[in-house]
């Protein structure tokens, strides 16, 4: 039963991601990156420290993460994540929409408010439910490394958790000219 649940979770996540990429590939074409262009699809890799019992002391868990994002408009993006928690040995994924509430033309700092559905194979830690998130991140040095944090709340479980994150972009695709 547990193997079936794990397999279904990864198959679902992979299918959703493949579908999104396929739709974009049909709708868009990808010129080579030029000045003042931005990829619609971008994939990040990174690590998280997660606190399930309040942001005190050491994290409750450490995660390895892959996080795609599809930037649709200056304020609106579709976001996703797939992660593995090393201490509690869980896998989780999710996806949803996010609205940027800070200057949309600042590539080094942003705050986004999100609504995302979370799936997991450890329902006691990460229940499957809709969540709201507040995300803040910036690039503190000239370069690509991003550091940030997230506060999240599960509507069904009434649980909250905090995350500190580091991300690095792996690749971008489907470049579009930026119309400011």
């Amino acid at each position: 039963m547990q193997l079936t649940v794990k397999g279904s979770l990864w198959m679902l996540a992979a299918a959703v991601l493949a579908l999104l990429v396929t739709i974009l590939a049909v709708l868009l074409w990808a010129p080579a990156a030029r000045a003042d262009t931005e990829p619609v699809l971008k994939l990040y890799a990174g690590a998280n420290g997660v606190w399930y019992d309040g942001p005190n002391g050491f994290p409750s868990d450490y995660e390895a993460v892959l996080a795609p994002r599809i930037s649709l408009t200056p304020h609106l993006s579709l976001v996703g994540s797939a992660a593995y928690g090393f201490i509690h040995q869980y896998t989780r994924g999710g996806g949803g929409a996010r609205v940027t509430i800070t200057d949309v033309n600042d590539p080094n700092f942003s705050i986004g408010l999100g609504g995302e559905y979370q799936v997991s194979n450890d329902h006691s830690l990460r229940p499957e439910e809709w969540t709201s998130t507040v995300n803040i991140a910036w690039k503190p040095w000239a370069g690509k490394l991003i550091i940030g944090a997230q506060g999240a709340y599960g509507f069904d479980s009434d649980k909250a958790w905090a995350t500190v994150a580091a991300r690095y972009p792996l690749f971008g695709a489907f470049y579009q000219e930026v119309n400011r």
């Binding site: 619609v40 999240a152 930026v178």
Partner: protein, 81 residues
């Protein structure tokens, strides 16, 4: 309920912790303090009725453009979190 309280609820009560994180970054890493202070200032600007109203006003137009197949992507570090 203030805007901060509303967003704090959305963040599961963690928004205050995020603010503290920014402040602690500035204290722990002096070379990052200008960026941390700048980020705090931008956060305070965003969390105003005017700031959030501007976002709310822009969204319907942007959604319309998406429905017409026009994408206008941006780099937002917070999209990666």
């Amino acid at each position: 309920m203030t805007i901060f309280e509303a967003l704090n609820h959305l963040a599961g009560g963690g928004l205050g912790g995020l603010l503290t994180l920014l402040e602690n970054v500035g204290k722990a890493a002096p070379d990052l303090k200008p960026e941390a202070d700048d980020s705090l200032a931008k956060l305070n600007t965003a969390l105003t009725p005017e700031g959030l109203s501007a976002v709310a006003a822009a969204l319907p137009k942007e959604l319309g453009e998406v429905l017409h197949g026009k994408l206008n992507p941006r780099e937002h570090p917070s999209d990666s979190i």
